[in-house]
């Protein structure tokens, strides 16, 4: 029961504190068993295999619905789960730290408030990233297996119908292209970016909110409003031409700058219909996500820096 003599003080860098806080938030959320939803996702992916509409006329349409369903259902479920996880997890962290008074013990250490906020946000994003990675892996595995099966069926039917070898090879290439490809990964990245923006918004709401429920409800509301952002921007642009009042125009402009246009992140529908996602689109989404994450993190810091806990 002996205690050593006090030694000189230690000092952590901003980065190491943020990493410590993010890993802590990640562990906290994992131990709350949030990954259980992955079982539900697996069921959805497996279930999507059995929805093959009997509408095929020739080898080219055999199994096409199945591949489309797997992509559509999986990406849809990924988008839904990721948004729900990010909002609920972010809404849970800060209000809970205040309610449980664990925040005192953290802020009583030499931890700047910006480190705390960024660390918490990074923890949620790490959780979403790992969740998306696991779901992505499940989707890719299911799609890969099913693509092979579909190609086999198509080949059998095409040979039976006396298709020439070049036509069979061409069909195989076409089916392969609608299977696993990098476009899918771009869609998953778009989902992650959208969710990162949503988590940052939720973080800033949680800095002035008093409860998890309020933060969750307001965040979901902003999420839905974000899907109509394009309309506000349109109103501003048309208003300039039509001579709408300056106040309304600036209100619409402010709204469109402050609330992200979540419709832009919805690339899944286009992808399922085999519309390509270009590098330029991905670049724009990355820039946009960075802008909003930074904006809302700074807003959260501005509110939280003077908050009395």
């Amino acid at each position: 029961m002996s205690e050593s003599t006090p030694t000189p003080a230690f000092k952590a860098s901003h980065a190491s504190r943020m990493v410590t806080l993010s890993l802590h938030a990640f562990t906290q959320l994992v131990r709350m068993k949030v990954f259980y939803f992955l079982a539900v996702f697996a069921v959805i992916v497996i279930g999507s295999n059995f929805f093959d509409m009997a509408q095929h006329q020739g080898p080219e349409s055999v199994g096409a619905n199945v591949l489309r369903n797997i992509k559509s259902w999986s990406l849809g479920a990924m988008a839904l789960f990721a948004v729900v996880i990010s909002i609920v997890a972010t809404a849970l962290l800060l209000p809970r730290d205040i309610e449980d008074r664990t925040l005192y013990t953290v802020l009583a250490k030499p931890v700047p408030r910006i480190d705390y906020l960024v660390g918490r946000l990074m923890g949620v994003l790490l959780l979403v990233f790992v969740s998306l990675a696991v779901m992505d892996l499940l989707m890719v595995a299911a799609l890969h297996l099913r693509t092979g099966m579909v190609m086999e069926m198509q080949e059998k039917m095409a040979v039976g119908r006396g298709w020439p070898e070049e036509a069979i090879q061409s069909l195989k290439q076409e089916t392969l292209a609608s299977g696993v490809n990098w476009q899918l990964q771009a869609a998953v990245l778009a989902i992650f970016l959208k969710v990162a923006v949503m988590a940052a918004i939720c973080l800033s709401v949680s800095t002035f909110s008093t409860s998890t429920l309020f933060t969750t409800v307001v965040s979901f509301l902003i999420f839905f409003i974000g899907h109509f952002q394009a309309d506000a921007l349109d109103f501003y642009l048309k208003g300039v031409e039509a001579g709408t009042s300056t106040f309304s125009q600036y209100l619409a402009l402010g709204f469109s700058l402050f609330i992200p246009n979540f419709q832009l992140f919805n690339v899944v529908d286009g992808l399922v219909q085999n519309q390509p996602i270009t590098l330029l689109m991905v670049g724009k989404l990355v820039m946009m996500a960075c802008y909003y994450v930074l904006l809302y993190t700074l807003l959260a810091w501005w509110i939280f820096s003077d908050k009395e806990v």
Binding site: S2, T5, P6, P8, F10, Y104, T105
Partner: protein, 287 residues
């Protein structure tokens, strides 16, 4: 920063809280000033709601003072760096329930910049100090109140702070746990660590503190060295072992024959209920 700077220097601290939209603000701390020198154990006592915890939170930068200033070893306590020298145990600490005792100390240690073998050794030392080595791999959510206070004390000391602030350290803890915490406070004092504690359990404060401040309705109404505050200056206490009634009678006669001296009270000194309790359970434990 100068080494002779006070560990804590609170000057004319005022803290007001907004109430309703148009109502008058509630003044929780009113012109409180106090200085604690390095190595002292200072107790701030007062009833519930008197402003003790608010004073401590302002000192830790968790609340912004309405007026006045707080300094820790000469540095403004609003600045984050000042907390490098401070360990804090809040009232009824609730740590992250999903972490084990060992993980809890590792988390707080890393926040303070400790890592690798230094942190591992520090965790070992502290777990032994607070007698939680056997519970290091148990989740904090399953700890008793006394264990929570002890792991809280360990986390407060993780970065070798020169000042430890304890808010009601023995609140809700049984007499045995309470005694262990008081022993830990005395150990800290022996190591030259400054301790600033607040409590409404007066007897416990009396046992460990060098100086005491009494706060009531937000104002510091009395402050000074404990012995000076509680001593009755015009009385003298003599305690005699194995005195028979004849000896007591002779002493009483001497006092009566002395000019100006007056016998106030004779009788047997009493132990406290707490000491009796601790003695009995120790005896039971040994048998």
């Amino acid at each position: 920063m100068a080494n002779d700077a006070p560990a804590v220097e609170i000057t004319d601290l005022v803290k007001e809280f907004k109430t309703t939209m148009r109502g008058r603000p509630l003044r929780a701390v009113d012109q409180v000033s106090l200085r604690i020198m390095p190595g002292e154990v200072y107790g701030l006592i007062g009833p519930n709601g008197s402003g003790k915890s608010t004073t401590m939170k302002a000192l830790l930068g968790l609340l912004a003072p309405t007026a006045g200033s707080c300094k820790i070893f000469g540095r403004d306590s609003i600045k984050v760096d000042s907390r490098q020298d401070v360990g804090f145990l809040p009232e009824n600490p609730y740590f992250y329930k999903h972490l084990t005792g060992g993980e809890t100390l590792r988390f707080y240690g890393r926040l303070c910049g400790l890592g690798g073998s230094v942190l591992r050794e520090r965790i070992e030392v502290l777990l032994e100090l607070v007698d939680l080595k056997d519970a290091r791999d148990r989740r904090v959510g399953g700890y008793s109140k006394g264990m929570l206070q002890r792991i809280g004390l360990a986390q407060a000391m993780i970065q070798h702070p020169r000042l430890v602030i304890l808010d009601e350290p023995t609140a809700g803890v049984d007499p045995v746990g309470s005694r262990e915490i008081r022993d830990l406070v005395l150990k800290l004092r022996d190591q030259g660590i400054t301790v600033f504690l607040c409590s409404h359990l007066l007897e416990q404060v009396q046992e460990v503190c060098d100086r005491v401040g009494i706060i009531f309705a937000g104002k510091l109404i009395r402050e000074g060295k404990l012995e000076e505050l509680i001593a009755i200056e015009d009385q003298t206490e003599v305690v005699i072992r194995h005195a028979d009634s004849a000896l007591v009678s002779r002493i009483e006669e001497i006092i009566q024959s002395s000019d100006g001296a007056e016998l106030v009270q004779t009788g047997k000194p009493r132990t406290t209920l707490e000491r009796l309790f601790l003695k009995e359970i120790k005896r039971d434990h040994q048998s």
